[in-house]
Symmetry: C2
Subunit: 385 residues, 2 copies
């Protein structure tokens, strides 16, 4: 199996991008990744694209064919991969395999979602398709409700407080304020979060990631070819994916995601590392409680200690383990199919020392963690410079 490196990374601004269509977003991100790698499209010999729900959001399936066309890459193969909000990471994982197997030498991996062309009710219903349509969504359980159940359970078991949840959002906005690609590049206060509109008790609107448009892309090559490209390569030293039941009612626990735990264990084994070796991580904070659970499930903090650690600033830029330097899903935005690839882009920038005002000092190893739905899929990647 060949070792795999990222030699180019790029993304669009995330946000309500009403003047750009789905096609423009992904082409913009793809061109930025190519430019960053210093190569032209003719070098590419395969592509993977993660997108969750283009069929329902814009009436368009067959996104691989569409993008081969609009990126001017015909006749090379481009394949769409879907795993709800983890679609981007799954695309990265397939790209990794294509290069690792020896079948492909230069692979573009993209993630994209165009979500703001529909109203919130329609989008909530579409996102609900990431959970169990028959046993959750049909009965009214949209995602804020599902994560609220997990938050309540975490509070009951470990004494996690609403302030601890809010601290994740406050910290992510502080990071996002330093990211020019972020949907909400401004700070918020603890009081603003706690006083914001209740969505599904105990989650308020500022505990929730937004609905967003955006795209991100990276270019993969075998590590031993990477020296011939212009940018310092970032190696993907681990990729792992795990599954859990799609409906909450079948889970052993609600206060953590088993899929994250399994994927993390496999990723650390593959990288021959432990959580202590990670210098920064992008984790899946679709809701504030999701970040608290993630930093526990990934092994950065003991189960139940994620809330206090967040409140104490241990996950801030200056803390023990900076989490979501990009601003996370909360402040950077969450165009669902793009998120996993955006996480990889942020890790690349950090490991190259290009993260501007939010640079983590002496960053050598980064981790990304991307969740599909309420945790039926989790994907972990580890990167090294």
């Amino acid at each position: 199996m060949r070792r795999v490196a990222i030699i180019g990374a790029g993304m669009t601004k995330f946000g309500e991008e009403w003047e750009k269509g789905f096609r423009e977003l992904v082409v913009e991100a793809g061109i930025r990744a190519l430019d960053d790698a210093g190569i032209s499209g003719e070098k590419i010999d395969a592509g993977y694209i993660g997108t969750m729900a283009s069929g329902r959001l814009i009436g368009q399936e067959h996104i691989g064919g569409l993008l081969a066309d609009y990126m001017g890459l015909n006749p090379i193969p481009i394949t769409r991969v879907e795993g709800a909000c983890a679609s981007g990471s799954l695309a990265l994982r397939q790209g990794f395999m294509a290069v690792a197997s020896g079948m492909k030498d230069v692979v573009v991996v993209g993630g994209v979602e165009k979500m703001t062309d529909l109203g919130i009710t329609a989008v909530s219903d579409i996102l609900g398709g990431a959970g169990d349509q028959e046993w959750e969504l049909f009965l009214g359980a949209t995602f804020p409700a599902i994560y609220a159940l997990m938050a309540r359970r975490h509070m009951t078991e470990f004494g996690t407080t609403e302030e601890m949840l809010a601290a994740a959002s406050v910290k992510n906005h502080k990071h996002g304020a330093k990211n020019k690609y972020a949907q909400f590049p401004h700070e918020i206060t603890m009081e603003q979060v706690l006083n914001s509109k209740m969505i599904a008790d105990p989650l308020k609107v500022l505990d929730c990631s937004p609905i967003s448009d955006g795209a991100a892309g990276v270019i993969l090559v075998p590590l031993d070819h990477a020296a011939s490209y212009s940018k310092k390569p970032v190696e993907i030293i681990a990729t792992a994916q795990a599954s859990d039941s799609i409906a909450l009612h079948s889970r052993e626990t609600l206060s953590g995601l088993r899929a994250t735990q399994v994927a993390a264990k496999k990723a650390f084994e593959m990288a021959k590392m432990t959580p202590k070796d990670i210098d920064l991580a992008e984790v899946h904070d679709c809701f504030s409680i999701a970040e608290i659970m993630a930093i526990e499930d990934l092994g950065f903090f003991e189960k139940g200690k994620g809330g206090p650690a967040t409140l104490e600033g241990k996950t801030s830029l200056e803390g023990d383990i900076p989490i979501n330097t990009s601003g996370g899903l909360k402040a950077c935005g969450h165009p669902v199919g793009a998120t996993g690839v955006k996480q990889a882009v942020e890790c690349v920038w950090q490991l190259r020392g290009e993260a501007e005002g939010r640079q983590v000092k002496d960053a050598h190893v980064a981790l990304s963690h991307n969740v599909g739905g309420s945790g039926a899929t989790a994907v972990v990647h580890i990167y090294k410079n």
Copy 2:
């Protein structure tokens, strides 16, 4: 890169399966494939599932997570792959890479679609998302219209007749009549096709594949592990995928699919073979004209000679190159995400000598050809016993 073999294959009956849901269909096919391989689910270490439009057809995305759950395979990773009507073959291709790369040892690949819960107008609109939503579907071009344009062009350039098109349907029903899994296991006559209702001139309803429910599955292992399993292994000796523009108006020609031509060339190179080495092929006959173009684009017949060859019986079970022994999409049915995997299942059965009344004599090498939409994606696999 490791060599990859299929050691198990199974499928559901294709048809209007109103008493089975999406989950039941795919579990049934998966269990049949596992039973055929003589292994239990615990042996599986990854899965890929092809489905085109579960989001719009049944309100459910995140099919990988759903199936890991419903097949009892948690926490192993299952990933959904989508390329319109080529989704099944793309899943097979990703499964191939997972095994070839050395990352996974026993991989289940499935394809599924549940299409008959909605009315024909809704389904036509959803299928239209496999073409260019903005430049074709929005303006009224559903798939029969798109393929009718190709048929007219083929007739103009090469003198292909309505009888030649009809001969593909008649032949496929003759084959399908011998397949207990077929949606329409009965013969039809040339007169019936020619007198059937006009859908998009020159294509009549009996030139068109149906809307179907169904699922299919195969089990992949490294070839050098295959001897330890019960069934005679069938090696996948080539996998190739290519792209073309998603809208017809950007193509160089309408009388053939460039993506098929490119994918076929790459597949034959990978297999170190020529079309003459193929003993039988399952090709993508979503419409009768699609089969005529496919057998030309794949190199079995010169461009323009596919129609006469079909009328003369050269593609029948007793002909030079038996095409669509399963009955093809026309008679066996076309649950879109399942079709590519079903093609692999038929090839496996033929190469094992288990194709009952439709067995091709001395079959050693088979080819499958699966198209996404009107040809923006084409996938070719070659199998050897």
